[in-house]
């Protein structure tokens, strides 16, 4: 017989679901819900945030166009996640080290890679990974970056690099991989300067968040590693930025790692390569999230302040899209990666067997 007076598991379970409200500054009707936090931004700041989100949406639209034209390789759509991606990455500094996942090309570009390089990465060209940025290439094994982010953080700590952190991204699905826990646990154990960001966009390809875990929040997953964590409205760029900035300040002060869960949504498919979201969700499921759209939300505030207009945005979008068209032309102009070059970069010094293969391929390539 269960003895409730000794232990009441049901009460403990219920208590787990007793979550604090996700942090929000602008609600979905563009109403300021935290005036003091809102007032910390100048008009210029607000315009800058808007520009970044417009840039990311334009990047997405133009890249999808390229994809439909057969000019892209693997591409993971980002529409809907602009506040989460731009808000968090804008809190970072150049000296920070970024470990992105595959949906994080916009952050990688913000952190110093060029759009051309991002396109080359998508096409599977090594030049796409030779960017001038402190960053790993987008991680495909979604939990693995968490382990590595603990290591980069420990390296920063051992090097005594000032005002520098490691920051990494994964998604809701990524938190189910054991590596994400190992990474957070190591970061906690060594108190590394690492910021873990979980962009909870509702789906791991087709598997919804509620099938991923019984945990009431993904932020809670950091608790077991002794890491402070928080949920933030991932459709509110002001909240995403403010929380990421606060986390960075806290980490830089020597307090160890932090984890942020952004509550966001992927409007489109998992990837441009044949995923059909209508197989696993309805228009009705998606609609409420469009109503929370991060661009609409901030646009209203700016328009009320007389800081933004449709004409201004159209002009910007055109400007951005033209720059992406230039970028893909630049990518087109990069010579194809050669097998002989791939073989050369397997080891620092090619093995005798590889040398033979290199000669074989060089002979072939010289005839092409």
């Amino acid at each position: 017989m269960a003895n409730k007076s000794v232990v009441d598991f049901e009460a403990i379970k219920k208590d787990l679901a007793n979550l604090p409200k996700p942090i929000q500054i602008l609600d979905e009707n563009s109403k300021v819900v935290d005036q003091a936090a809102f007032d910390s931004f100048s008009d210029d700041d607000l315009v800058e945030f808007m520009k970044k989100m417009v840039w990311e949406r334009a990047l997405h639209e133009q890249t999808m166009n390229f994809s439909r034209q057969g000019r892209m390789g693997f591409y993971a759509p980002t529409e809907g996640e602009e506040a989460s991606e731009m808000g968090t990455v804008l809190a970072m500094k150049k000296q920070d080290y970024l470990l992105p996942a595959y949906r994080d090309l916009p952050q990688l570009i913000q952190h110093g890679a060029t759009v051309t390089e991002a396109y080359l990465w998508s096409r599977g060209h090594v030049v796409g990974n030779e960017y001038n940025a402190n960053a790993m290439m987008p991680q495909i094994i979604i939990g693995a970056a968490f382990d590595e982010a603990a290591g980069v953080g420990l390296g920063i700590k051992k090097n005594k690099e000032e005002d520098t952190i490691a920051f990494t991204y994964t998604g809701d699905g990524g938190t189910s991989q054991g590596d994400s826990y190992e990474g957070m646990n190591f970061a906690g154990a060594f108190q590394t300067p690492t910021l873990f960001i979980v962009q909870n966009n509702g789906f791991a390809i087709s598997t919804p968040r509620h099938k991923q875990t019984a945990a009431p929040s993904l932020a809670q997953k950091a608790v077991a590693a002794g890491i402070p964590s928080v949920q933030v409205d991932g459709m509110d760029i002001l909240a995403c930025y403010t929380v990421a900035k606060a986390a960075r300040d806290y980490i830089v002060a020597g307090n160890g790692p932090v984890m942020i869960e952004t509550l966001t949504y992927r409007y489109g498919a998992h990837s441009s390569a044949g995923d059909d979201p209508s197989r696993y969700r309805t228009e009705e499921d998606v609609k409420p999230w469009h109503e929370k759209d991060p661009l609409i939300r901030l646009r209203k505030v700016l328009e009320d302040k007389g800081l933004w207009s449709d004409e201004q945005e159209d002009k910007l979008v055109e400007e951005y899209k033209n720059s992406f068209k230039d970028a893909i032309k630049e990518a087109d102009a990069v010579a194809k990666d050669k097998v002989s070059d791939m073989l050369k970069r397997t080891f620092e010094i090619p093995t005798p067997e590889l040398r033979k293969e290199i000669e074989k391929f060089e002979a072939k390539e010289s005839k092409e």
């Binding site: 080290y97 090594v126 030049v127 990974n129 030779e130 790993m136 290439m137 094994i141 693995a144 968490f146 382990d147 590595e148 982010a149 603990a150 290591g151 980069v152 953080g153 420990l154 390296g155 920063i156 051992k158 090097n159 490691a166 054991g178 590596d179 190992e182 990474g183 646990n185 190591f186 154990a189 791939m342 970069r345 397997t346 080891f347 620092e348 093995t351 005798p352 067997e353 590889l354």
Partner: protein
């Protein structure tokens, strides 16, 4: 010169490299205060401090992910996987991440990690402690797999591995840890990677082996010598990549070969040596290629280990079969 066991030779190499390069770090389960479950890292934390030699939480993927991250931050990590069977937990970090770093970044970011791990049968350990897992890793482009067969090589190969700018899986044979002693020169010396060693010269048959099986091959050669057979024994030292040149040169002289490994027979180092000979040097032979390997079963529980692992007798038997072909 000092007489040193295999394990002391490894400790000596680690000590030298911690002293030599301030960017080297040793970490893993119980490697700090406890000095490792085999005492391989004994005294190193005391001497170099917790900043350089430290314990980690018990999670192999975490340990090697830490190594990958430290590598991109300019360190030269020497993580330990406490027993090689535990490396399955870290397969992605070794094969999916570290081995690909140079390839991914065209050399702009690399993974100069040396993963040390004990393996090998004959000491009656618990399950998942003794398996010969080199075959899983030897097929990984971008990763070296080094398996010293004696204390002298262990020290020199470990120093070479740590100094190498690519990732190395350095496999330490459990049975050899305390059963072998060599004269070990003081201070730093290297034994080259990717080069096989002709342990003893001979004219009638070539025996190719690596790890603890090199000792079995030497014993077999002694037995064969009593019957007037002159066997050449080759120690691969590095099992990926394989130094085929040394093997081809030898069989050109002996025309006969037996390839020996402690691991199961299927799809591994011995099979690769055999296929290289078949492909590029078959005309040197005047008899079929002989192979001695463990049977294709799950690695045995401790009691059956001694019968399962191939020994000198099996090598002699196979050599005679080839010699009398």
């Amino acid at each position: 010169m000092a007489k040193m066991t295999y394990i002391k030779a490894i400790t000596d190499a680690l000590d030298i490299m911690l002293e030599d390069d301030p960017k080297t770090l040793i970490f893993g389960e119980d490697v700090g205060k406890n000095g490792g479950v085999f005492r391989t890292t004994q005294g190193l934390q005391e001497k170099y401090g917790e900043d350089r030699v430290f314990d980690t939480p018990l999670a192999e993927s975490g340990i090697l992910g830490l190594a990958t991250g430290l590598g991109v931050k300019g360190f030269r990590p020497i993580p330990e996987i406490q027993f090689m069977g535990f490396s399955f937990e870290a397969m992605d970090q070794i094969v999916g991440q570290e081995a690909r770093m140079r390839f991914r970044f065209n050399g702009k970011q690399t993974s100069p990690v040396t993963i040390r791990t004990p393996y090998g049968g004959g000491t009656h350990t618990a399950e998942m402690h003794a398996d010969n897992l080199e075959n899983y890793f030897a097929s990984t482009p971008g990763l070296r797999v080094v398996m010293p067969s004696n204390p002298y090589d262990a020290k020199g190969l470990l120093i070479s591995s740590i100094e190498n700018n690519d990732p190395v899986l350095f496999m330490e044979n459990l049975k050899l840890y305390r059963s072998m002693k060599d004269d070990i020169p003081e201070g730093k010396y290297t034994v080259p990677l990717d080069k096989a060693n002709v342990v003893q010269e001979g004219t009638d048959i070539t025996i190719v082996a690596y790890g603890a099986e090199v000792n079995e091959a030497k014993k077999a050669a002694e037995t064969l010598a009593k019957d007037g057979v002159s066997a050449e024994v080759i120690d691969l030292r590095t099992v990926s990549p394989i130094d085929t040149e040394t093997i081809f040169k030898s069989i050109e002289k002996t025309h006969k070969v037996v390839i020996v490994q402690e691991a199961q027979k299927m799809a591994g180092v011995g099979a690769t040596v055999a296929s290289a000979i078949a492909e590029d040097a078959i005309l040197s032979l005047d008899a079929p290629i002989g192979r001695v390997a463990a049977p294709n079963s799950v690695y045995p529980f401790a009691q059956a280990e001694d019968y399962w692992i191939p020994g000198a007798d099996e090598i002699v038997e196979k050599a005679n079969e080839i010699l009398n072909y």
